[in-house]
Amino acid sequence: GDNSEGGGGLSGTIVGDGSSTVFPISEAVAEEFGKLEPDVRVVVGISGTGGGFKKFCNGETDFSDASRPIKDEEKEACANNGIEFVEFQVAFDGLSVMVNPDNDFVECLTVDELKRIWEPGSTVDSWSDVRPEWPGESIALYGPDTDSGTFDYFTEVIVGEEDASRPDYTASADDNVLVQGIAGDEDALGYFGYAYYVENTDKLKLVYVRKDALEQPEVAEFMRFYLTEGRPLVAEVGYVEAPESAYQEGLDLIP
Amino acid sequence: MMHEQLADIVAERFVTRPPELQIDLTPGLQREETILETRGLSVWYGGFQALRDISLAVPGRRITAIIGPSGCGKSTLIRCFNRMNDLIPGFRVEGELLFEGRNIYGRGIDPVDVRRRIGMVFQKPNPFPKSVYENVAFGARVNGYVGKLSEIVERALRRAALWDEVKDKLRQNALALSGGQQQRLCIARALAIEPEVILMDEPCSALDPVATLKIEDLMRELAERYAIVIVTHNMQQAARVADYSAVMMMAEDRAGEMIEFGPTRQVFTTPKEKRTEDYITGRFG
């Protein structure tokens, strides 16, 4: 950001972009930080994790929100542009499996059943293929799109192999659309990543920050604020706080 | 211009009229059946009164001419006869306009029916931006005429003295015709629906003398079966073809009034009104 020291407090502009699922956290932190340091302008965008990294590695942003770790080709792009960065864990996302509220026969599904439903080459078509006593209606499947962290995580822990999934389900990058879809479809079964629907949480939300930006006092201060005062905000906007150790590791990286 | 000379010319015209029509000019005509009649007709365009208290009876099977200076309301009057003015915003009419005894501005009257039976040729030629053929065939098509369409088209074009000039261009756009050709096309279009009354607003203004005479012949021919009302600036034309003539003038407030109506010979030779005489003699030719 353009740095101009002024008065007692800090000043300058900090630009962030990236995943729209991390956005609520960054927004909350930026809002609170703004109250503390009114002369620092923090702006945040929602170009998606991929789009965010593209801009980040072009040197257009100071930090990048991500719902998955940075990939090799992205690291390479950053290296080509001489961008070095640090990774911070800021929260966990949830994983929930959901059926339509009007569905009165599914009370719980075992991991094995989920695996049979979702694995590549799955032969499950109707509910009765899962448990014979269930009705013969075919199941309508919903899930996040194949590039999302949630997808990676679900395939890894349920199917047992990352990225392995049957392809014939309705995929959307927008969790809210999935919720709408499942709510509107009696034979729906879907999974997505909102913490407030489940207890089981293990999916990272990350923030990447450019090293040279971190040398600027307002950016450093912002990240410090993110990892300390930001913690309660994570829960407030619907995610799960990362473990204490993760925050501590992060704080250690800030000069 | 010498008035006497002109009066002579008028008289001369009457002498040279086709003999079979001379009988129309006998006083017996007064008893002819009226087909269109206005009673105390007044017309407004918004706040402007264009016609005041026009009373006029158009006889069937005769030609009635409406003459008068520009802007006196001739077009307005003739457009009332088939409710063409309905389309102008702000137009308002008072009084009665009877067609075969029924008020065409009355309740329950369908203007579509009125217009099919009272055809019209407009002052400015207004062909459709379609082919010559389609222009003439349009009326027959919408009115569902039985019979060969191409025959109807050819017949109408021949009667309007246009056939020879356009027979090779029937599929060409009518807007590429000359001014006079467009005017004759509009006449042909009106004839093709065989109306009972034909209104013509200066039908010959864009025509050369040859075509004018042909159209006048046509009018006489049509008048054997139908009623014809023409608006014309050409007083010789009125004298030549009209059985009856109506003279309109503008009042002080520019509203149009009818100052004289009667058999053409009487209007032209022994007008009741001084103004008519002034208009006809003083400006004839």
């Binding site: 630009v15 972009d17 956005f23 609520p24 927004e27 945040v44 929602i46 659309v177 | 579509v112």
Partner: protein, 293 residues
Amino acid sequence: MTAAEAGFRRRLFLRKATAVGFALLCILATSLGIAALALLLVDITREGVGRVSWDFINSFPSRKPEQAGIKAALWGTIWMMGLTASFAIPIGVGAAVYLEEYAPRNWLTRVIQTNIANLAGVPSIVYGILGLALFVRAMSLERSVLAGSLTMALLVLPIVIIASQEALRAVPNSVREAAYAVGASRWQVVSRQVLPAAFPGILTGIILALSRAIGETAPLIMIGALLFVPFTPSGPLDRFTVLPMQIFNWTSRPQPEFRENAAAGIIVLLIVLLTMNATAVILRNRFQARARQ
């Protein structure tokens, strides 16, 4: 004659019945559009009208739905619409004038013509990709209102051009002839007679184009317009966000209060749209009333 007359009467009855039926059909079609709109508006109003307040309009975004406002987005939208209009209208009308009044009938004209129609069908997101490459990066305008507006202007240009061209085409040739005949130059004919006569149609194009621009989200997300912006733009090079992005984001948040905010945001957006259109509509009605004589 009487048999034919009777046949005609029968047909006339049928024709009139058809005409009445058709009129009803037309009314039905018109009501359909209005009904759809009414439904939407009622739905939105019911949900959002309670949230519309001065505070809502005059606050910056927040994670707390009840404190969040649209100040930055509203001003961003106003800035962007102003800039978009000032690029798209002159260029669009100019292009239409060129194609209708100046262009020779040659291959280049035909290529331009086809090309414009084609651009109308290019998805908005592709314009976003273009805007990012061209304005944000190549011209290094960064993610400014200006870059966003230029992208939007390119996006709506085909609408302005095509609508204006049709409006120009509808001006009768006799008007041009009359103007040329008194010694007007081509530009005088165009600017003083043809354009005024075509004005209502051009305004329709402008209304449709700006309507499209005000509701678009995808290309702005592509070029990287921001979302959390705690200030209003003070110049064309400032960073910005717009109402549809704010609405888009709010609709995809889980808390129901945010959906209420989204509805309130839509209400404000529609009010902006209506004020913008009202000016154009008043002008259009005035000119059309005259042209219809």
